[in-house]
Amino acid sequence: MKVLVQANRCQGHARCLAEGPDVYVLDHLGYNSTNIDEVPAHLADQARRGALACPERALTIVDESSGSGEASGSTPTVRRGHR
């Protein structure tokens, strides 16, 4: 399982950290800076809940065992360069 972070969507709500404290990492400003190759099996639930909790839909779980990408919700309009 992988977590894809769309950093330009993250607005620092930190709900991913609340649900997945062992998966997600924030930078000094509080924005998501998670960079992991593969989510270990025992943290899969944390990763999924963290992605689902994101109000900005910035996180996508890619579960290779099922061969599908589970977006955390509908696709918002992406606007670059806001921070």
Binding site: G12, G30, L52, A53, E56, G73, P76
Partner: protein, 425 residues
């Protein structure tokens, strides 16, 4: 998309025109019912009230509007559509009807000017930095409960939900302790009464005093910095230059007005809720681990900020209509949080609701940077009340809602009685 022609009075012809006067919502229940009716028929509608504005009420439309900072701006704008009385007004983001108060930085800035100031707030209030404030939060919750716990009676708003955020934020800002209550009350009461009402006019003078105190403290700490947040803002370098006096006071004003009253609103609502819904209180007492999801659900059900304003800066297609430059939007977080399409059983308190992607703190780039501090203060208040005065009851006859649910909502008074307990300090 429907292209809207403008009539002589600026009213868009062909748009769903509603009579949506926020000033007539004098109770939370009225406000929620009015938003629910509007949301079910016209999630984006035009209302001539308050000088004319697009009213945005569904979860999806609210989210899209808040994210579209390129079209919908937070900076103050001069009203070009005639307002009540026909005079041009400066339009701040958070007052309905518009009322000009001191500038708030960074909330009333737009990119690119906004970015460095927002970074300052994001860093100051990051989850990591808020953890360092935990001992102060715990201290003030403990002390303020100590002050009343032997008596068996208090006004939980004055004592706790207004007192604690005031103490935490004003101590951090370095304002003298003997001014905390008066400063907190100035912001609290300004939110409670409708701008223009006689009561609000009285409190406006108190708010002017608060702004004067901010200017005095910024002046004093520019000359002689102290080890506090006011000194930090007063002397801050942004992109290599010392910030202007106006922007320094705007940042102190932001920290104070954002800090002292908003957490008050949701925490008061939670204590009122648990009085009228004892089963929810009991579930938290039986299973304290539910507190984090309960906090999110209280925020969704009772978001302190009900609406925010924006100004259209370029013609933009939105909600199936063409919005024109200089149009105003009133965007409702409170309505979005009760949208059935986003939250099944939206009017029901579901203690373990998940996911709960509410927009109580807004969404998009202007998301409340104080959200982590707000959650920490709210959690400590909730935890200690449930531990120390778990049987509290609201004195219902003395409970007072804000008469104004336009921009913010809350409770002016919530007297409680409880079995007396022991002090901790």
């Amino acid at each position: 998309m429907t292209t809207i022609q403008r009539g002589a009075n600026g009213v868009p012809e062909g748009a769903p025109v509603v009579d949506f006067d926020l000033a007539s919502h004098n109770r939370m229940a009225d406000s929620n019912a009015a938003w629910a009716r509007l949301r079910s028929t016209s999630p984006v509608a035009w209302s001539a009230d308050n000088g004319g504005a697009w009213i945005v009420s569904s979860y999806d439309a609210v989210s899209e509007a808040f994210r579209n900072w390129e079209s919908f701006r937070s900076g103050r704008a001069v009203r070009t559509i005639p307002g009540p009385g026909g005079s041009p007004d400066l339009l701040p983001i958070n007052a309905v009807p518009a009322q000009t108060t001191a500038l708030m930085i960074p909330e009333e800035l737009d990119p690119p000017l906004w970015q460095p100031y927002r970074r300052v707030f994001s860093e100051l209030l990051s989850p990591r930095k808020v953890e360092a404030l935990a001992p102060r939060i715990k201290h003030w919750v403990t002390k303020y409960l100590d002050d009343v716990i032997e008596s068996g009676r208090c006004d939980i708003v004055d004592t706790l939900t207004s007192g604690v955020p005031g103490a935490v934020v004003l101590e951090w800002l370095g304002f003298p302790e003997n001014e905390w209550h008066r400063l907190g009350a100035a912001f609290h009461n300004m939110s409670a009464y409708l701008p223009g009402s006689p009561t609000a006019q009285r409190y406006l003078n108190e708010l002017e005093w608060a702004f004067e105190r901010i200017r005095e403290e910024v002046t004093a700490t520019r000359a002689t910095p102290r080890d506090d947040l006011t000194s930090f803002f007063a002397n801050i370098q942004v992109e290599g230059k010392q910030t202007s006096f106006e922007f320094a006071t705007g940042m102190v004003n932001m920290a104070m007005s954002g800090g002292v009253d908003t957490t008050t609103s949701v925490a008061s609502a939670a204590f009122v809720h648990m009085h009228y819904h004892p089963q929810d209180r009991q579930r938290l007492l039986d299973k304290p681990a539910l507190i984090d999801s309960a906090i999110e659900e209280f925020l969704r059900m009772y978001p302190p900020a009900r609406t925010h304003g924006r100004t259209v800066v370029k013609d933009t297609e939105f909600g199936g209509f063409l919005l024109r430059k200089d149009d105003r939007l009133i965007i409702s977080e409170a309505s979005a949080c009760r949208d059935e399409a986003a939250f099944p059983d939206a009017d029901k308190f579901v203690i373990d609701r998940f996911p709960n992607r509410h927009v109580a703190f807004g969404i998009g780039p202007h998301r409340c940077p104080g959200s982590h501090l707000a959650r920490a203060m709210f959690k400590e208040m909730l935890t200690q009340v449930l531990e120390r005065i778990p049987d509290y009851r609201i004195v219902e006859a003395e409970l007072e809602e804000y008469p104004n649910w336009t921009a913010l909502g809350g409770w002016s008074r919530a007297p409680i009685t409880f079995t007396p307990g022991a002090r901790r300090l």
